[in-house]
Amino acid sequence: MRKLFLKSIKSSTRNKFSTYIMVIAFFSIAAILVEAGILGSLFKGLLVPMCYYIILAVSLNLTVGILGELSLGHAGFMCVGAYVGGVFSILTKDIITSALIRFPLALVVGGLAAGLFGILIGIPILRLKGDYLAIVTLAFGEIIKKLVQNIYIIKDVTGFHFSFATSIDTSTIDSESKQVILNGPMSISGIPKNANIVIGVILVLITLFVIMNLVDSRSGRAFMAIRDNRIVAEGIGINITKYKLIVFSFSAFFAGVAGSLFAHFSTVDPTKFDYNLSILILVFVVLGGIGNIRGSVIAAVILYALPELLRSFQNYRMLIYAIVLIVMMILNNNEKFLRFKERFTFKRLFAKKHAKEDA
């Protein structure tokens, strides 16, 4: 009976559920081990960052893996989300006192702002393909970083004071009610640290739910058709720009949510959102398997934790990290190794078990 029921579920649904269960299981076991004192404070501190890196990797995989366009500006969208979400929280700190309402709002606002940027930037640049798109997105990320490094916003009783490129003329500001919101290279301070592991895991699950279902939907098939053969896709009447925009805005939205989560957890520093961060997220996606959502989750967790857990190697830490990356990359492309790994997949293990049960 049970087997029949399991079989009647679509394989894609089973696949999705196993991903959700994997995420929930990993984080609950980790949380329990941390609470029990078996894993130290280092691991405890890694859990929330893991959540936003998972969201970033999964959302970038939508663009890179499902749509097949190389985007190097993911950190830029994260930056927009972090700043908008952070500023929103600071401004509404006194109006909405309950963090339970304010924080989810800040996440959504951060995400929407990034999504809006995704659409705005998407309209002109999605006509580009391949390398050209990669270069333009790269430039976008750098521009965003430069912009936020130069914005100064101060709030006082008379309203908002805004300045660009140099600091604000302080003579016109009422020093009594002065509240510095954005301070150029010193960026934002005073964002309430509302992020915690529960919210992080919920966000990861929402992201996975939305993106996996999007991929499985009618639009998802259109994305993949565009990826696999653009000309044929155009020929059968798929509106390429429209679908590309959908992917771009979803991808940017979730990057913005991740950014907002980041802003409510760590310190926002504009130099953080540079080219290297975009590449780091891309590395998660590539090593997890392009187009493989669950792979992105696993890769983000392992590759984020790896350099931290290698700390006992002192100066050789980064060297070992680099070697591990190279080895993983080579092995993932090695036919013999893939066949060797085949023998150890869960499917096989389960299959054996079932075979025994039947007997």
């Binding site: 894993l39 404070s41 600091s167 010193m186 934790a305 869960f346």
Partner: protein
Amino acid sequence: MKKRIFSIALAGTMILSGLVGCSGKKSDALVIGGIGPLTGENAQYGEAVRNGAQLAVDEINAAGGVGTNGMKLELNFQDDEGDSEKAVNAYNTLKDNGMQLLMGTVTSKPCIAVSEYTYSDNMFMLTPSGSAIDCTKYDNAFRVCFTDPTQGKSSAQYIGVNDLATKVAVIYDSSSDYSAGIYDAFVAEAKNQGIEIVITQAFTKDSKTDFSVQIQKVKESGAELVFLPIYYNEAALILQQASSAGVTAKVFGCDGLDGIINQLAGDASLAEGVMLLTPFSVNSSDETTKKFVSAYKTAFSNELPNQFAADAYDAIYAIKAALEQAKVTDLEIDASELCDLLKIAMTKINIDGVTGEMAWTAAGERAKDPVPMKIVNGTYVAM
């Protein structure tokens, strides 16, 4: 799916190695944690701090330790790549490794991030070089260096009071919180001192090799003095390029300019007459400084200590003095308990270090203002 077994096995090994690392830990010394960039673009600052601190720890241990029972010190320095997020991870690692107090972090942004955690854990922290205001906003945080605004304000006051110039040009790094922090305070104070800022030229860390545009503008503006609240690497380039462009204005800088003589190497004469507001000078004739510089050179393959190394060296000696002041003799003392003792002891100590006389206010700042120096014949002379 396929990757999983391999990945889990890998992760398992890593976690295990991490666990083994922390479970076997209980040393016979008081563990001082250190955090700073050892890799990445700010690595030179982190390296200097680690070296300076290690030198001080070794000296103290060799001289019989701290206090009446000769307590030994141990430095555990972790890399943060100059990133706030990594700095918090480094802090958590140190906590797992039994850190009892923190000497860090080196750069401002990570320092602010870590201070949130040290405050909630009640862990004593003394940053050698985190100069942004917010680094010491909690009562458990102290710093060896001067704050950015203090430096900017003192610079403007010194220029104004001594009538060095009335027309001033500024070249600063708008992408650095250090540089921008000094600049803002300088501009604010310049007005009170009757200094006219004739031109402000900014650069960012992505464009810090060619300054010909900025220098040309400064030349055209007719400024009598150029204020450079930046680090010596860029300042050296500016001096070289300004000299070939025929700029004759005086140069005034802050503690970031220390080390410029050695950076200029071949044409050290370019640094002649440069004024800088620095508590430490590597070429000083002061006995303590001389001893430190020669010990540092011996220990680290003839490298010259910079501002960061000096700050870290002093930080360790300040910790020693505070531990002795608080009469801490228990090696196993709890971090929070130690913090409560050191918070009070820090405001009572008064020692002579390589960065001058050291005493602290309860707000965590140095009690004395920085003093300007002038480079004359390749050495620093107090002005």
